[in-house]
Amino acid sequence: MKKYTYTEKKDTRSGFGAGLHEAGKKNENVVALCADLVGSLKMDAFIKDFPERFTQVGIAEANMIGIAAGMTIGGKIPFTGTFANFSTGRVYDQIRQSVAYSNKNVKICASHAGLTLGEDGATHQILEDIGLMKMLPGMVVINPCDYNQTKAATLAIAEYEGPVYLRFGRPVIPVFTDPDQKFEIGKAWMVNEGTDVTIIATGHMVWKAIEAGEKLAELGIDAEIINIHTIKPLDDEAILKSVKKTGCVVTCEEHNKFGGLGESVARLLTTELPTPQEFVATNDTFGESGTPDQLMSKYGLDAVNIVEAVQKVIARKKA
């Protein structure tokens, strides 16, 4: 197992804030909008340097998406910012008609996704947003795994033409990816090469997959770990290549197993290469209040859960 270490922990939303600021410096067409959550979305640096390119829309997310869609007409590249729940479910039809169907160059940037939002509880903890967004034709869906990757992804989507959903989170987590990485939309990142099982992880679950990989190595299981940061378009080639070698797969995401990354992988595999698969994901449930760590453990999203899923899927492969 390749060794991953970290010297600091940071939140992915701060990676977004830094990326937005840099994208703003690089391209004067980058504009930002927010619905009364500037601090939570870490937009302060952008606002400070480009006040005229920032729009505070107030607590009115539907209006924000519509305004963003309109701003693309004439060449602006709008980045909208609010919590993941209010970025998706709250404004689904506005995104569907004015952004996705109309193919507008809007970047929907969503913080506080998943259970790790913590104490605010289920009303704010969306576990369905990947599903909602990936179902929209033409929508790119990205869920980066740490501060550096989120920053790189933010810069990459500014250069990409078309609607994007960028999902990130609230808690501080290890920073373990390269600070100078080039982010390629739709290209998987090989975290660790292995032969016994393919672990496919996205977002906050990537670090947990690395922790699981270390435990598995101690148990004599050689896990291949792939980071799928872009859930759509999915890197079919990387997944099929790995699964051909390992013969079984575990998908890991901080999302409902209904409609998430795991289902995208399952769809690919059932059509191309039927393979035993286990899902580490929430199981058709809402979240609740608690600390991020408590919730990840209560809802089965810890490294131990990945280890168990791996043991189970290897047994199925052998059966």
């Binding site: 500037v38 107030g58 009115a60 209006n63 104490e119 605010d120 009303t123």
Partner: protein, 281 residues
């Protein structure tokens, strides 16, 4: 009056103590709006609302209350506990794992007193309208009360609801706005000015009254007065001026304490300003 103004003020002081202790206890939650509305909740539950302590979801023959700005859950939980819906010891579980006192109010864990989830802003007026329509269909003459944040009124759904209620002459509906002039990113005037809410709601066909939400006498009288305006073909909007953080000096006068928890020292300072009247949980 069921209580003297002094008795109500004492209850409100305890509610405020509970709020700061709850938010401190889990180091998260929203003290600012909760403190600002402590007098309103006390007046509503101890003087105005006609309810059954044996909680029943349908609330037939009872007045109903819906909290649209769900983030101020601490003030509601404390008031519900002191009104006898559940034991006040449960307040200690606020926002903790496996609690019925979720960060934002919910029916999911079955907490007595709560009839709908809120937290995602802007949805409560529609729900209250639905409940009032059902009361009308059932021939039930009791009232439906709501509370909304002022920043929350920036959500468009409120205005869909605001257009609907007068058109359907929902004159058992008494909506209150926590008019504190603050929201997360700053004063509402700077974020997205609401301008004259009175003129806006009147233009939509509401009967609008103005009350001082941090003066117990005024808020009790205001809510009683609102009741006398029902049955006249118009819904009632109570524009209730409050101070975010009311009762704790350092939390007042800005938006800074919208959603920040006090540390140990700040808690002690706050508690020193809020007499313990009914016993801490």
């Amino acid at each position: 009056m069921k209580h003297t103004i002094k008795e109500l003020e004492d209850i409100a002081s305890q509610v405020r103590r509970d709020i700061v202790r709850m938010v401190h206890g889990c180091q998260s939650g929203h003290p600012g709006g909760s403190l600002g509305c402590a007098d309103f909740f006390t007046a509503l539950y101890f003087e105005v609302l006609n309810y059954n302590k044996d909680f029943n979801m349908d609330g037939v023959g009872e007045d109903l209350f819906f909290l649209s700005n769900g983030h101020i859950s601490p003030v509601w939980y404390s008031t519900l506990a002191h009104s006898g819906f559940f034991d006040k010891s449960e307040l200690a579980t606020f926002r903790k794992l496996d609690s019925r006192l979720q960060g934002h109010p919910t029916t999911h864990e079955g907490l007595p007193g709560i009839r709908i989830a809120s937290g995602s802003l802007g949805q409560g007026m529609s729900v209250a309208i639905g409940a009032a329509l059902t009361k009308r269909l059932n021939g039930d003459k009791s009232y439906v009360f709501t509370l909304h944040g002022d920043g929350e009124l920036q959500e468009g759904q409120n205005w869909e609801a605001a257009m609907f209620a007068p058109f359907h002459e929902l004159d058992t509906l008494i909506c209150t706005v926590d008019y504190n002039g603050q929201q997360i990113d700053g004063p509402t005037k700077k974020v997205l000015n609401l301008d004259s809410l009175q003129a806006k709601f009147e233009a939509f066909g509401w009967h609008v009254i103005n009350t001082d939400g941090n003066d117990m006498q005024a808020i009790v009288e205001g809510l009683h007065y609102a009741k006398t305006l029902t049955g006249k073909g118009k819904p009632i909007l109570n524009l209730m001026s409050t101070q975010m953080g009311a009762g704790v000096d350092y939390m007042m006068g800005s938006h800074k304490w919208h959603g920040t928890a006090p540390n140990d020292e700040q808690l002690a300072t706050a508690l020193a300003q809020l007499p313990e009247t009914l016993g801490d949980y």
